[in-house]
């Protein structure tokens, strides 16, 4: 197990190096001169020279990369152009908000995906199975921004029963119930795509176990339906783990739209603002943080997978 973990961590190193290269390249490769773009036309040549010096843009690219990487490793991601604040100070509180939203959405993904998938696997040909299959397909196909807008139109505007955005009421005592009320719509909007995918994968995994030798032999031994099902669910769970981990990454992707539309002050919202302002250091920092988190989640998933399934542990 330890050997597996070391191997997996070592494998992540080149990936992470590649990630930093790509993120760095996004700024280095911007066509045109970022300094004149930032200063605007009519800026005195002195100011131009000064800013170029301060940003170190006249040095060779490999030197700039090494410098940027050293700073990034120390948590210094530069200064946001639009916000005039250190990027890490902007990113940290936003990450907390995204974590709250992702946790809520992930709960929906797991519960909904397992229920929908199990129904489909248990009644593959019946009307219930068809409905669950169709629901999964619609759910997978539902773009987060579409769902978000439709939910706001129905629940916030027409019915007026849930808030259209933000994390807390402006007037009021705040508190957990208020936060939860604000979480419902964004969490649903973020959850639908990964929920549908989880349902599909779990349905396929559980379905193949239920149709396989294991289920047959358990039934032949006279186990009750629920006991057979319990064993089969256990057997299908590695697939659930793998897909569940990947869904965490999806959530990170979906939050760009969901947070923007629901005015949720998380990473996605921050990235959207950075994008509209062309605030390159902030874009760079945000993308780097998300990509590193993504790689980390993948390592966690692989490790957990190896832990419950010994076959994965031994290298091929």
């Amino acid at each position: 197990m330890r050997r597996f973990l070391i191997r997996r961590l070592l494998l992540a190193v080149p990936t992470l190096v590649g990630v930093t290269l790509v993120v760095f390249a996004t700024v280095a490769l911007v066509p045109g001169d970022p300094v004149s773009a930032f200063l605007g036309p009519g800026a005195p040549p002195q100011a131009h020279q000064e800013l170029t010096d301060r940003l170190g843009l006249d040095r060779p690219l490999p030197v700039q990369y090494a410098d940027w990487l050293t700073h990034a490793l120390h948590g210094d991601l530069g200064t946001s152009i639009a916000g005039q604040r250190p990027v890490d100070q902007l990113l940290l509180p936003a990450m907390g908000q995204t974590l709250i939203l992702s946790a809520a959405a992930f709960t929906l993904v797991l519960v909904g995906g397992i229920v929908l998938g199990a129904v489909g696997a248990l009644r593959p040909r019946g009307p219930l199975g068809r409905v669950s299959g169709a629901l999964s397909t619609v759910s997978v196909s539902a773009p987060q921004y579409s769902v978000a807008l439709l939910l706001i139109a129905v629940f916030a505007v027409r019915l007026g029963c849930l808030p259209a955005g933000g994390t807390h009421d402006v007037f009021g005592d705040g508190g957990l119930p208020d936060l939860l009320r604000h979480l419902i719509l964004p969490a649903v909007a973020a959850a639908l795509v990964p929920l549908g995918l989880t349902a599909k994968v779990f349905r396929a995994a559980l379905g193949s176990v239920l149709a396989g030798d294991l289920a047959d032999s358990l039934r032949a031994r006279g186990l009750s339906r629920t006991a057979v099902l319990r064993h089969c669910v256990h057997n299908a769970s590695p697939a659930l783990l793998t897909i569940g981990g990947l869904q965490l990454a999806y959530l990170l992707e979906g939050v760009v739209f969901v947070e923007t539309l629901f005015a949720w002050p998380g990473l996605g919202h921050l990235l959207y603002d950075a994008l509209t302002a062309r605030d390159l250091p902030l874009i760079q920092g945000g993308v780097l943080v998300v990509a590193v988190a993504f790689v980390g989640v993948n390592i966690l998933v692989d490790t957990a997978h190896a832990w419950i399934d010994p076959r994965v542990r031994s290298p091929r």
């Binding site: 196909s141 995918l197 739209f257």
Partner: protein
């Protein structure tokens, strides 16, 4: 099997009508989404004939009419432009954003996958590890990052989405090549003097192509959604051109006051995405499932 049982008449003959009904039932899952997709293409091609108004010209006297208003079936937007006409015209850039990146990614991904599968160990590892790096970014984030480097437009959308989709295709192609690369007929081809390129094009490509075709078709819906998403973020087609994602953004400020109009682009993208994915699924089931759920998961 059910077909045979229900189709066999008392005299043991298969009545043509029963067979045809069974075949239709089997094909309905493919034909219905295919027909809808064809309709969509038709709308895009015949946009000038279908759209009742100019998609870019509006009149401030008819701002924000609700759907069902006389003269404007689906209402008007904040600049008084006819929403139906804009939705129809928008099918063009939006469908291009869905289809072209997939076509490019399918071609590039197949080439990369075959190269990795047939090349030496070093080539294989180098290619796969580089693709892993692109995998380390959630799709829309990578697309956003690449698109910010370019002037906003359809070109930025197409190029960035091609880069995002290529690794997934390459991985599927590589898996397929790895499965057959020790097959005897490849060995036979090599022994009879065929070079690497010839083996790749004549022996390997025909095996990989149908799998890629099926897989790529299931990516079109995703690409439509991503393309509209990029436009929504202001990275796609610049205004005033009508595009579904850009329309979504245009109408967003009216959501609280005119939800009936504001949800129309969102609904359109949702429906198109469902149609594309249903078609993709049906095609995959028909052409041959890759069975690669992991590859599907990383879309």
């Amino acid at each position: 099997m059910t077909v045979l049982r229900t189709g066999t008449s008392a005299r043991g003959r298969l009545p043509f009508r029963a067979l045809r009904a069974a075949a239709l039932r089997r094909d309905a899952g493919l034909l219905l989404p295919a027909a809808l997709a064809a309709l969509l293409l038709l709308v895009a091609v015949a946009a000038p004939l279908i759209a009742p108004y100019d998609p870019v010209a509006g009149s401030l006297r008819v701002r924000l009419l609700d759907p069902g208003s006389p003269g404007h079936l689906l209402g008007t937007d904040g600049q008084g432009r006819d929403v139906l006409s804009r939705l129809v015209w928008a099918a063009r850039p939006s469908l291009i954003g869905g289809f072209v990146p997939v076509a490019i990614a399918a071609t590039a991904g197949t080439a990369l996958g075959i190269a990795a599968g047939l090349g030496g160990r070093v080539t294989e590892q180098a290619l796969l590890r580089s693709l892993d790096v692109l995998y380390a970014f959630p799709g829309i984030l990578l697309a956003m990052t690449i698109a910010t480097l370019m002037p906003a437009g359809l070109g930025a959308t197409v190029l960035s989405l091609s880069v995002v989709l290529t690794p997934a295709v390459a991985r599927v192609a590589h898996t397929e090549v790895a499965r057959i690369r020790t097959a005897e007929y490849l060995e036979a081809a090599r022994v009879s003097g065929a070079g690497r390129t010839l083996v790749a094009v004549r022996q390997v490509l025909p095996v990989v192509a149908p799998v890629i075709l099926a897989y790529a078709s299931s990516l079109i819906g995703l690409s439509v959604v991503y393309a509209a998403g990029l436009s929504f973020l202001g990275l796609g087609v610049p205004p005033p051109t009508a595009e579904w994602g850009a329309m979504l953004d245009d109408l967003r400020p009216s959501l609280l006051t005119h939800p009936g109009v504001a949800v129309l682009p969102a609904l359109t993208i949702l429906i198109v995405s469902v149609v594309c994915n249903t078609l993709g699924e049906a095609l995959r089931r028909r052409i041959g499932d890759t069975g690669d759920l992991a590859a599907e998961a990383v879309r």
